[in-house]
Each structure stands twice: as structure tokens, then as C-alpha cells.
Amino acid sequence: MSPSSSSIAAEPGAVPAPGEHHEHHPSYLVDGTTVKSWLLTLDHKRIGVMYLIWVLLFFLVGGIYALVVRFELLTPGPTIVDAMTYNRAFTMHGVVMIFLFMIPAIPGAFGNFMLPLMLGAKDVAFPRLNLLSLYLLLGGAAIAIWGMLNGGMDTGWTFYTPYSTHTTTTVAPILFGAFIIGFSSIATGLNFIVTTHTMRAPGITWFRMPLFVWAMYATACIQVLATPVLGLVLLLVVGEQLFQFGIFDPARGGDPVLFQHLFWFYSHPAVYIMVLPSFGVMSEIVATFSRKNIFGYRAVAFSSLGIAFVGFFAWGHHMFVSGQSTFNAGVFAVLTMLVGVFTAIKVFNWVGTVYKGAVDFKTPFAYFCGFLYFTVFGGMTGVAFATASLDVPWHDTYFVVAHFHFIMVGATIMAFMAALHYWFPKMFGKTYHEGWGLVSAALIILGFNATFIPQFLLGNAGMPRRYYEYPERFQTLNVASTMGATLLAMGFLITAIYLTYSLVYGEKSSANPWNSRGYEWLTESPPPTHNFVGPQPVYKDEPHFYVDPEKAEVPDAV
């Protein structure tokens, strides 16, 4: 902040801009209603809403591919599609879900909307770059989708060479699309880092930042530091596809393991690009719905940075079976397990927060419970995987698929749904039906378990991933998994219906319906265009400052 703004009182020389004293401040939703006022907006809130719409759409596309895959595996032989279509379907499922949903979803939609509000700022540092990053995402998506309609790709989302440079499917446009999406991710990350450094309102010190902001900050650091390497490796693969340079092709003296190093140097940290934001969301929600100050604020904040840091040194655990030396395997195993330590710090602090809290069991809290379970279960299977000797039989089986869906998809989806419900009143000024919220949360959590627990068992029994046909004896579990996926889809469908309904017919929400102490609730719901009306809120408490219910009586009695 500038030196003059260190005090909380209004800056003496600040002249109110013309028009600042009108009584009526329209919310950002209605301040300008033309299509252009949305498409070219520089308002972080509108950009966040547009992100939300698009990532939901991408989620739908990815989900349809998932159902194709799942229904194909209903019987041991061919079921609904041919083998090549199946390969394209699981590839596009992975590409769409990872690059177009999981990575941009929480930072793009909720990060954009909430970060400036939580920092008491009027906007992100670079509003134009913010809009650009949305359009880069859409541009990249358009190119990738064009590629996928004109041939598709059958390499799996990991694009392993030399297969990806030899397949006859259209790899180049899809990789190029992913390359552009990478720029979008870098732009968002860069913007958030600068915003956090420069836009904090007076009174918001580093240790008074909401934990969601800490999580977004740590995520942004990974986005900025890891994505360029992915960009380069995608370019090299595109070049190699078009010109057969042979950089990664063993037939021409190239080294496919180098591809794996470069790819996982991004993609392992990328899993934290996906889950760190969910950790942030959950820290907010657990405090709000336990009505307690977050236990171990600093530990939770620093563990995000810790995860971001050690996440850069763990990539080798994807290559335990690529011929790396036993020594390397050992080093990567230990470094990988360190990630588990930092995650455990968070888990213990969340549990400590709930302990003896006055829990308000609303929909977001239901998702928090699911989240805790998926994180612990999925994380434990990760630690098991990090044990190199266990990885060898499990590698590239359904056990891997189940592991990363539990932790990455499970945790992220729980957080995304929790955030959607928690911030729905803030973003749209409407409330939704609590009963339907709880029903669909139960359905989704149940569906998730029913989908992926059978996959753990399948993997353990030796069913490889990415196979079109399988022996008879795996069928029962596959049927169970497909039924789970159907349940899951129903849960999302119900949510889509009642949230859309609430958007139109929902009751008007108060400014702070959850009685939260989060900074984003200090303004109206939905917020006005410049976020705050009148004098800026005063920040003199910690962001999650709830009175401990046990001690609440004491000050009252005095």
C-alpha cells in the first residue's frame, strides 16, 4: 500500500469522484444490461460469473464423455462405441476436465469474484489482463474442440510420446489449444499474485488475509512457475508431430523419458493448482459453519505454500516404472510423502476447528464432510502409491484412476459445489432450497463412492486403465461403477435444476445470510459495481474471527 494509506481512517485528501454520493448503487448484475456490457466488462465480478458459466458448460461436456466411457465398460466386449471412439472419449474426457474445468474452475469463477472483495479492493490489479485470460481460455477451448470434432485424439490426456507423435489422430490442434489455455492460466495467476501484493485495503496485513486468499496466492505461484514448462513441452510435441524432429522419439535418438520429466514437472504441480483452491474454499466454509475461528490460521496458510513448494519436487513418482534408478525412486518417494505431511496439517486444523464448534449443518458443510473424507482417503492412497514398491503393481491400473479421482476430482468437486452454494447468495442475491441442497449433496457423495471404490478394487485385482475390453471376471465391479456414475450424474442434474430455479424465483438474500465473518460479506449481496458503497469497511479483526461458543458467555456476563 502507499505510505499514506497505513491508517484505517479515510485518506484526508481523497476527493469523492463525481456521482459517488447518489443514493442508488445498482448491483454489478444490473449495472449495464447490454450484451456488450457483459462481454467487454472489466469488472472482476462479471468476469467471474462468465467463467462460472463456461466452466459449468465444460463440466457438462466432460461429464458426457465420462458417461460414454463408463457405459462402454458396462460389458466386457464392445457395448456402445467402437474401440477408437472409446480412446477418443477417455482422452477428451481427461483433456476437457483437467484443462477446461478443474484448473480454471475455482480460481476463474470464485477467485475472480471473491479475491478483490476479500482484499477490500475495487478490482484485480490488471482488469484487462483478466478479461484477456477468459478469452484465451475460450480461444484455446475453441481450437481444442475444433480438433476434437475433426479427428479427435487417442493418446490420453498425458500425451505420452512417442505415441502422440505417431498417431494419425489430430494431436496438433488439441495440444495447441492446451498451450493457449496455459497462457490463460499464467495470466490469472500473475494477476492474483500482483493483486494480493498491491491491492490489500488498509488493515489487511498478510496475516489478516482470508485463507482462501492464501490458497489462491499459493496456487497462483504454481501457475506462474510450472505452466511455462508445459507450454514448451506442448510446443515441442506439436513441432515433432508436424516435422518429425525426433526430440522425444527413440527411433531418432530422442528420449521419451525426457518428455515425461518435462510433462510431470508441470502436471504434478498442476494437481495442486486443482486442489489448493479447494483447500482455501474449505477453510472459509469450516470456520463459517462451525462458528469458530480457524484453528491454527498460520499453519493452514503456510501449509499451502509448503504444498506449492514441495509439489515441485515430487514429479518423479510418476516414473517409478520408467527405468529410473532405485536411488531416484527413493528420493522422489520421500519428497512425495512430504506433501502428505503438509496436507495432514490442514486436515488436523480443520478437524480442530469443527471440534466443539456450534456446527450449522447446511449444504456447504455437507460438502465439507465429503471433502474431508475424499481428501483423507485419496491422500492415503497417494502415500501408499509413493511407496515405490507398491506403485509397481498398481501403476497404470484402475487403482491410479481411483486414487486421483478421489483426491483430485473428489476434493475439487466437493469444494466447487460447496463454493457454489456458499457464495450463491453473495453472487446472485438469491437463496436456494436447503432441503434440495442436502439431498443432492448426499447423492453426489454416495455416487462418487459407488463409482470409484469399485475402481480401487478393480485396480488391485489387476485391471489396467485405458482398455476397451476386459475379462468377464471384472464385470460386476464395472457395472457397480457405472451405476455409481449414473447416481452422480443425477445429483448434478438436480443441483442444476434447483439452482437455476432459485436464480429466477429464489427469495432475496440478505447481505450476510450465513452470519459469516468473511470479508466478502461486508458488502451487499450482490455487491455494487465498485464493491463497496460509502466508507470502506474497517479491518481490525482476523478474517475468521468468531467468538468461541464456549467462551461466548464470559464477555456477556461481565
Binding site: 479492493a121 482488469p127 498491491t198
Partner: protein, 226 residues
């Protein structure tokens, strides 16, 4: 506090207007701090982009030490050295532009940027001669390598030229982007847009140019010297 504008009501005629602060920034200082921080982060991502190529180089140099040594002896050290000097000098003129901008000497800023761009052009011309020689004798990437020269019939030589063309090509692309950026900032300087208080664009433009220089300072020894 977030005030919306810092423009005073009066300023002497002829003196460039004091810059306005975008509505969402608390003050000009904060705005400039943000711009600089953003640029540093962006430059970090650029370095990381090239870092991937450096890793490729290191890996293959390790795999084919003889091929890489043989091939690097076939680069034109004289032209490479001249180009290094040209770029270092251009980095100096870019720095001078910032120096003049701080003193609100817009005219000199324009001159310095023109000099910088001319040297960038010189760099590209020299690069053009280097490339056309390589193409002529067939020292080309991977499967296109056709040079019959006996000392180049070593495993790894085509890979060396793959990396050579990829990294100098990517660098050359950055040179062109840099020229465009400097031309645009120079154009603004020509319109007297900068003052002693607000010269962020000049600073950021020349920071970008230093990056282009810096990357070359790594590429030159990597490709030509060792």
C-alpha cells in the same frame, strides 16, 4: 485508501499532464508497483519457457557428448560474437532510454529506442546469414540433416541442430516481439506521453528487451562456445 484519480486541476501549459491513476488503484505508486511486479513475474515465466529448452540441451549433451561437441564447432563463432556484442549494446541503449525518461526527455527516449531497434534489426540480419549458410550446407534439424561433412557423421548431430534451430528460433521470435514493443513505446514517447513521474511503459519495455538480451547471453555459450 482508494481514491479514484490523482489528476490535479491545474498544470502549467506545455508540461505533460500528470498521469491519471486507474480507478481501482489507491495511488500512482501502487499502480506502478503493480505494473513492475507484473512485469517481473512475466519475465520469470519467459525464462522458465527457455529453461525447458536448456533442460533438453543438457539431457542430449549428456547423451551425445561427441556429436554435440562436433556440431557446435560448426557454428560461426565470429558472427555469434558480433551478434552478442550487438545485443549487449542494444541493451545499453534501452537502459539509456529509461535514464532519459526519468528526466522527462522524451526526444532522447525516442532516439535510444530507434537505436535499439536498429541493432535488433542488425542482429536479425546476421542471424539470417547464419541460417542461410546452414540451410545451404544441410545442417538442419533431425530428419532434414543432409550435410555430408565427415566430421559431422556422429550420433547426435541432427539432434544438436534441432535444438539449435528451436532455441535460436524461439529467441528470434522474442527479438521480433521486442522490436514491436519498443516501437510502440517509442511511438508514445514521440507523442510526449511520459513524464519524470510516469515512465512505466518505457521501463517495462526496456525490461523486456533486457530479457531478450539475457536469454541470448545464455544461448551463446551454450550453443557456440562449449
Amino acid at each position: 485508501m482508494q481514491s479514484s484519480s490523482a489528476a490535479p486541476a491545474h498544470h502549467a501549459p506545455g508540461v505533460p499532464p500528470v498521469p491519471t491513476v486507474a480507478a481501482h488503484f489507491a495511488s500512482l505508486d501502487v499502480q506502478q508497483h503493480a505494473a513492475r511486479l507484473g512485469m517481473w513475474l512475466f519475465l520469470a515465466t519467459e525464462i522458465l519457457l527457455f529453461a525447458g529448452l536448456f533442460v533438453c540441451y543438457a539431457n542430449y549433451r549428456f547423451m551425445f557428448p561427441d556429436g554435440f561437441a562436433a556440431a557446435s564447432r560448426h557454428l560461426d563463432l565470429t558472427l555469434g560474437t558480433i551478434n552478442t556484442l550487438v545485443l549487449i549494446t542494444s541493451s545499453f541503449t534501452a537502459a539509456m532510454a529509461v535514464h532519459y525518461a526519468k528526466e522527462a526527455k522524451n526526444r532522447q527516449v525516442v532516439v535510444m529506442f530507434i537505436l535499439t531497434i536498429l541493432m535488433a534489426l542488425g542482429f536479425l540480419v546476421i542471424k539470417y546469414f547464419e541460417y542461410s549458410h546452414k540451410i545451404h550446407v544441410g545442417q538442419l534439424p533431425g530428419p532434414y540433416f543432409t550435410d555430408p561433412e565427415p566430421s559431422l557423421q556422429v550420433a547426435g548431430v541432427p539432434m544438436y541442430f534441432t535444438i539449435y534451430f528451436l532455441s535460436t528460433g524461439l529467441h528470434g521470435f522474442h527479438v521480433i516481439i521486442g522490436m514491436i514493443v519498443l516501437a510502440w513505446v517509442g511511438f508514445k514517447a514521440n507523442r510526449n506521453e511520459f513524464s519524470a513521474r510516469n515512465y512505466t511503459a518505457v521501463e517495462l519495455g526496456s525490461m523486456y528487451w533486457h530479457l531478450v538480451d539475457l536469454v541470448w547471453i545464455f544461448l551463446f555459450p551454450m550453443l557456440y562456445l562449449i
